[in-house]
């Protein structure tokens, strides 16, 4: 099975082509966030390097979130459009799981995170089981850093923090966890689409490609405010073909 995997959920861009579990090509950049101009040229390049065309891809795997909303939409729209228009499989994988997957050969808690501003993070807790399989311990969510720290304290295990945004919080993590706090190296802090592709190879393909959307993990502030005083009933459908 040929897989094309892509991650545009944060500043870094990563794309990879895999044939089953063999990595044919991978390209990762951490230059700017303008994924709109860089994603398809990067895909074009790694497909050429792999001597493949897009219609020879059997499965499109995308980092589905959380992350930057615009970045997620570019990746998800590209992947779902490929799968839809070429009648191929589509799989979404957590952007956080993909980062956690960078760390192997440990049974420490793996805590990938993205800065969500105002002292919040997008994060989840992962761990490798006895067979080395990545498992999800605490599901991905949007939480205050303080709440994450409180939750990790209860788990009371060694922790590896992963991601380029970890640096903003490193001092607080050291203060809270002392010797139990460990930090991933620069290489592992960047997303790698090859890892995303390997995780995506194991998942079931989505059934309804049209309904596939990013996992933003946050409703917009507009909708939150509106739902405080209203009910969805009587307003839907929000979008109609006319």
């Amino acid at each position: 099975m040929n897989i094309l995997a892509m991650d545009t959920s944060n500043r870094a861009l990563s794309v990879a082509v895999l044939s089953d579990d063999r990595i044919l090509a991978e390209k990762t950049t951490d230059v700017n966030k303008n994924h709109s101009t860089t994603l398809l040229p990067a895909i074009d390049q790694i497909l050429k390097d792999s001597h493949l065309t897009s219609d020879q891809i059997d499965r499109f795997v995308v980092a589905q979130g959380p992350g930057s909303y615009t970045g997620l939409r570019i990746g998800v729209t590209t992947a779902k459009t490929f799968a839809f228009t070429l009648h191929k499989e589509l799989v979404g994988v957590s952007s956080l799981a993909s980062l956690a997957g960078n760390i192997r050969h440990t049974n420490a808690l793996l805590v990938p995170l993205f800065d969500a501003r105002r002292d919040n993070v997008f994060t989840g807790v992962y761990q490798r089981d006895d067979h080395g399989q990545l498992t999800n311990v605490v599901s991905d969510k949007h939480v205050p850093v303080a709440a994450l720290i409180a939750q990790l304290k209860m788990l009371n295990e060694d922790i590896i923090f992963i991601g380029t945004d970890v640096a903003h919080f490193a001092e607080r993590f050291r203060a809270a966890f002392g010797q139990q706090a460990h930090f991933a190296d620069d290489e592992a802090n960047l997303p790698h689409a090859s890892e995303l592709g390997l995780l995506g190879a194991q998942k079931e393909a989505v059934k309804d490609i049209h309904a596939f959307i990013p996992h933003y993990l946050r409703r917009t502030q507009a909708e939150n405010d509106w739902l405080k005083t209203h009910s969805d009933k009587g307003h839907q459908p929000y979008v109609e073909e006319v």
Binding site: S68, Y69, T70, R118, R218, T220, Q221, A222
Partner: protein, 158 residues
């Protein structure tokens, strides 16, 4: 720290805004606070002239942000009017604030959470007895903007 300024008509508002043009630096953030029709866009026209921008400054309500590149430094004119009760998560505002131009934000109260800690606030109020007259209150938040407010007041006094 700040000062107030009484202006008799639109031309005076433009002239006052123009004086700020030579003083602003890349990365500066200016908030314009005032009701519909208080003269926020009029003030921005003056600032644009002071930066050497010749094009019309048009209301950015529709696209939220208009960019003007032709002046001494770029002007980013933002209108957050349509974001009332909604916020602007992921509009990429911080990229403008960290950028190479001056950002002018109308209706900034709707994106409070995304604003930098320091900024120059220009509050515009209509005279209740005369629709043409305006009372402006200028306030610098943080040392950089207190200095900017002071320089502006001095430039205006000359």
């Amino acid at each position: 720290m700040g000062f107030t300024k009484k202006l008799t008509n639109d031309q005076a508002t433009i002239a006052f805004g123009k004086e700020l043009g030579p003083l602003v630096q890349p990365g500066d953030v200016i908030l314009l606070d005032g009701d519909l029709g208080a003269g926020k866009t009029t003030f921005t026209k003056g600032l644009a002239q002071g930066l050497g921008i010749k094009r019309h400054i048009k209301s950015p309500t529709f696209t939220l942000i208009r960019e003007y590149q032709e002046g001494r430094i770029p002007l980013y004119h933002m209108d957050m009017y349509r974001l009332e009760q909604t916020g602007a998560a992921d509009l990429g505002l911080e990229e403008y604030f960290d950028g190479d131009g001056v950002s002018v934000i109308e209706w900034s109260q709707f994106v409070k959470d995304l604003l930098p800690d320091d900024y120059l606030m220009v509050h515009l109020e209509k005279d209740p007895d005369d629709d043409n007259r305006r009372m402006l209150t200028i306030e610098g938040k943080g040392p950089h903007y207190q200095k900017l407010a002071q320089e502006w007041e001095e430039a205006d006094g000359k």
